[in-house]
């Protein structure tokens, strides 16, 4: 019984911390027209289009390179 309460509390705490991110991840799988739809939870047809777009653009690799460079500079 006491153990059960403990796990319940842990579950509440973890969902409080992670729920917004899970929601953000779900949103990242939605197509643009679905973004503003109600109910705002599950995507109808999950798609990786946004992730593909990120990697396709030359900008992204450059940003990663910049961040790595900064990280290196900070470590020195």
């Amino acid at each position: 019984m006491r153990k059960g309460m403990l796990y319940l509390a842990a579950l509440v705490v973890v969902s409080y911390s992670v729920a917004p991110l899970v929601w953000q991840f779900l949103t990242s799988l939605k197509m643009d027209y679905e973004l503003t739809r109600i109910p705002p939870l599950l995507p109808e047809a999950p798609s990786l289009a946004h992730y593909i777009a990120i990697f396709k653009g030359r900008m992204f690799l450059r940003i990663i390179a910049n961040s790595a460079q900064r990280g290196k500079a900070a470590l020195k």
Binding site: Y33, T36, N66
Partner: protein
């Protein structure tokens, strides 16, 4: 380092001749496919052997762009030659002495072809400090299908808009009557000015502050009433910016929306729920007053400290030319500042919507053209925001803004 993460370059690939000059063009994010813009820069290089141009995009927020320019121009930087400016910055930068006088680039005959609003905005003491590049102005978007359904025409007065929006949303939870940009930011000032002007009011008149007027009070009262009394604008308009209002209207969840022309192309894309079901019209006005739109858009200027002013001026002429503006209108959708293009057959064939914009752009009015504008807007934003969220009465807010702006205008003395 300063440029940080958000910089991207559009270099033209070629071997550099020793006597070649390279000019750097700073601009905001270019909408749509960046390739079209790159082609434009390449065309310039082909037509002007010996001049290379590097396009560098600044962070997409205009606040950050303004900050970048101010810090660098104040420090006398010559790292960039040509810069694109929001319409409200030109008087400020010109007053600070950061821009080259470009009056010679715009002969009298060409000036007549440019819309009066942007021309006024780039002129300080009779000199021209930037060339208008593309133009924006506030429009009324409406649901053509819904209006046709009741046999109504787009409203010419605010009263009609209130009546129509009220009728069409009666008993329905799913659709808002009228949405606009009410968050506390620059866009709110753009919205409010349209109400002030269309009620015969204004902020400045011949350099004097005229905020505290019956017309302005009526205008702000109407804006608050849209939310609190007529209930055709939901309370959440106090959080809306251009994109969030476009999302709502684009999902078919509003009858009317105030926004800039850019939204049109997005609404007409395949898969858009409102495709073919919308129209645009000039914003309504009070009875007997003319409709007014706030002018937006971007202008091109030359850094006073540029090491290659001749090459930079050549590039400015090129990028603001009729030909370039036409290309950008066709490929990116930027609206030309040259009026004659609105009679161009190619453009009309591709974007029939553009002919209707000509008259709206003719009536587009610049926000107060003053080097103090950035200070004035910081005073106006919270005061206007206080009115539409019901914290202050229009008279209180206007009196307070009037007093503060008078104080600011006194700083030079």
């Amino acid at each position: 380092m300063l440029c940080g993460l958000a910089c991207s370059e559009t270099p033209a690939d070629h071997e550099k001749a020793d006597d070649a000059v390279t000019i750097v063009f700073k601009h905001g994010k270019i909408q749509g496919d960046a390739e079209h813009f790159r082609q434009l820069l390449l065309r310039f290089e082909k037509e002007n052997p010996g001049i290379h141009v590097t396009g560098q995009a600044l962070p997409s927020s205009t606040d950050e762009q303004h900050q970048f320019y101010v810090i660098n121009l104040d420090a006398g930087s010559a790292d960039f030659d040509v810069l694109s400016m929001d319409v409200i910055w030109v008087p400020e930068f010109a007053r600070a002495g950061w821009l080259r006088d470009l009056s010679a680039l715009l002969p009298e005959a060409e000036r007549r072809d440019i819309f009066p609003g942007p021309l006024k905005a780039v002129t300080s003491n009779g000199r021209i400090y930037a060339i208008p590049w593309y133009i924006d102005a506030g429009l009324l978007y409406y649901r053509k299908d819904l209006l046709d359904g009741v046999g109504a025409k787009p409203p010419a007065t605010w009263g009609e808009l209130v009546r129509l929006a009220g009728e069409m949303t009666k008993g329905s939870e799913d659709i808002y009557g009228f949405i606009w940009q009410g968050k506390q930011y620059e866009g709110l000032v753009c919205n409010v000015l349209e109400y002030l002007w269309s009620h015969g009011g204004d902020v400045l008149e011949d350099g004097k502050v005229v905020l505290n007027s019956p017309g302005n009070i009526a205008a702000l009262t109407l804006m608050r009433d849209l939310i609190a009394k007529h209930r055709i604008s939901p309370p959440l308009v106090t959080t809306l910016v251009e994109e969030s209002s476009r999302h709502i209207f684009g999902n078919g969840r509003a009858v009317f929306m105030r926004n800039w022309p850019y939204a049109w192309n997005i609404f007409q894309r395949n898969g858009s729920p409102v495709k073919g079901r919308i129209g645009v019209a000039p914003l309504p006005a009070a009875p007997g007053q003319p409709s007014a739109s706030t002018l937006g858009g971007w202008q091109i200027g030359v850094n006073r400290n540029s090491r290659h002013p001749q090459a930079a001026e050549r590039f400015v002429r090129f990028i603001t030319s009729r030909e370039s503006q036409k290309t950008m209108a066709l490929t990116i959708g930027y609206k030309p500042t040259r009026r004659s293009l609105y009679r161009d057959p190619d453009l009309i064939r591709q974007q029939p919507f553009i002919t209707g914009l000509h008259d709206i752009f003719m009536n587009a009015r610049p926000r107060p053209v003053s080097p103090y504008y950035m200070m004035m807007t910081q005073i106006l934003q919270p005061e206007f925001s206080a009115v539409i969220s019901g914290i202050k009465t229009p008279a209180e807010a206007l009196a307070s803004a009037d007093r503060q702006i008078r104080h600011v205008l006194g700083v030079e003395r």
